[in-house]
Amino acid sequence: MSDVQKSDPGLYDYAAYRGRPKIEWPDGKTCAVWVAPNLEFYELDPAVNPHRKSWPKPHPDVVGYSHRDHANRVSHWRMAEMMTKHGFPGSVSLSVALCDHIPEVVEDAKQRGWEFFSHGIYNTRYSYGMDEAQERAIIEDSIATVERATGQRIRGWLAPALTHTSRTLDLLAEYGMDYTCDLYHDDQPTDVKVKSGQLTAIPYSLEVNDHYGFFIYNMSPREYADTLIRQYDRLAEEGAQSGTVMCIPLHSYLIGQPHRIGPFEAVLEHIAADGRAWITKAGDIVDAFRKQTGGAS
């Protein structure tokens, strides 16, 4: 069944931006801002998925691997400290095997009060081609691993390296997850059509993702900081009509480089000082949304 390819995946009904019911965030804030650090582990010599290469170069891809390993040795600590300094909690997109490999980083995020959701087992293992049993296995592995390491029951999912099957969203809802970060159709949360339960698509973002900023749009660090500020200013303004969501998706090996972290600080300062931002975590945004829309949860 899941092998049938549909031209319209039927994820949600069309809803025009004009004339929507007003979403209100706590304390009259107009824009819910959440920061999503991707805490990842990439394998040096991963098993091969026939649908996607793990690394552009033959293994070992030294630059690719070591660049990402910079996250856990150096840049996570820099990024996390700055977020805490300015009052931004993280909602972590987690390669759950990081709990096994480098528990220091996961523990640090936990101590800071961050929320965890799954980003697969490794960011070098893809869902393409998985059968249902395999997909259930990585969901169950994610739930159990994060619960063991942090005591938290994960509520959300960002597919590993953004690789999906057409049954993924139904399975997430079946397992009681509340949100997906994989759909990019809106600046407000949307309930997704699933076979059972309830699943909310929370706005994540590729457009202002640091990976896109630096490697798709080739921005300088200061241009990227300016982009985030413009994104926020606009969403905070429009959110007076109906509350908006802004996600700042980060990879510490990018944003935590020494030439980028300083300029990035201006973004957090700007948003923290503005007064219109509800600076919070993904789960809180989904809860507030459902409370107002009468969600079934």
């Binding site: 098993a47 649908h51 293994h59 150096v74 490999h101 087992i121 081609g129």
Partner: protein, 307 residues
């Protein structure tokens, strides 16, 4: 296509890294490093000195910056040669002006082809590190171990013959290694390599034939990445290096000495319209008492003595 059941096996899932080269370590948990002269930030300039044969080799891969048109590709051949004739001298002069000694990652054929240039580098007090044989000397898995060993040995021996001492450092083309590279470098007596970009200070790297140190040469902060790949201006490059230095200096106050690698390419940074901005950048660094410049071997020796 469905996936083999073994795709969900994770044989290396456990404490630490998924290989035995180095253990996990956070930069912020280490004993603070103190640089000579009480410098808080040591800038490590590395200039790549490259010779591109006009007949490129794609095995195992074609080096970045190599020939692009049908033969004869005069435009790229000569534009790269501009670097070894003009650009390198602009960079050397810039560093002389501020009294900085640098590492020059040199294709070994340069020693044979342009001995005067090598003499100028050595007499200027700079360090030569090995950078393969020429820009056809790329390394990746697929290259036979015996061939890789011969390539490394050939590069080191040819450079040693001209400069009189064996290079202590190694930079692979495009920082690309096979699973054998670190082992072969350790076996060949190389003290440090610059290929792994996962840290901001030197760290020990274990191989089957002994230990070697990796001094991370940040690829993101190279002129190639910022100016050629990301297409930013030299002024933006200078701003980014300044922002990096400011950040690291602030960190050094709390965590100990920091290092800022500065990877340069003569045919990129050594152009007339870029060099003044670069000169201004390093003059600014040189004016600050808490910033120093050092060769890779000096950074290595200082770091090792404190372990």
């Amino acid at each position: 296509m469905s996936l083999d059941p073994s795709y969900l096996d994770y044989p290396k899932r456990g404490r630490g890294m998924d290989h035995g080269y180095y253990p996990y370590s956070s930069l912020f948990d280490r004993k603070p490093v103190q640089w000579p002269g009480d410098k808080k930030l040591m800038i490590w300039p590395v200039i790549s000195l490259e010779y591109f044969p006009m007949v490129p080799n794609d095995d195992p891969f074609r080096a970045p910056g190599h020939m692009q048109t049908a033969y004869p590709d005069y435009r790229h051949y000569t534009a790269r040669e501009y670097g070894t004739r003009i650009g390198i001298y602009r960079l050397l002069s810039a560093f002389e002006k501020v009294g900085a000694k640098v590492s020059v990652a040199t294709n070994s054929v340069i020693a044979k082809r342009y001995p005067q240039l090598i003499e100028d580098i050595i007499s200027g007090g700079h360090e030569i590190i090995a950078h393969s044989t020429d820009m056809n000397g790329t390394i990746a898995s697929g290259l036979a171990e015996a061939d890789e060993k011969a390539l490394i040995e050939g590069s080191l021996t040819a450079l040693e013959k001209v400069i009189g001492t064996r290079p202590r450092g190694w930079l692979s083309i495009a920082r690309s290694q096979s699973f054998n590279t670190a082992k072969l470098l350790a076996e060949a007596g190389v003290d440090y390599m610059c290929d792994w970009a996962n840290d901001e200070l030197p760290y020990g790297f274990q191989t089957d034939t002994g230990a070697i140190t990796n001094i991370p040469l940040n690829h993101e902060l190279s002129d190639r990445q910022i100016i050629n790949v990301q297409q930013q201006s030299v002024d933006s490059y200078a701003q980014q290096m300044t922002d990096a230095a400011d950040w690291l200096l602030a960190e050094a106050g709390q965590y100990g000495g920091r290092m800022l690698p500065m990877h340069l390419t003569p045919y990129i940074m050594g152009l007339p319209y870029r060099i003044s901005s670069f000169e201004k950048l390093i003059a600014g660094f040189a004016e600050r008492n808490d910033i120093g410049f050092a060769r890779g071997d000096a950074i290595l020796d200082s770091w090792k003595a404190q372990r």
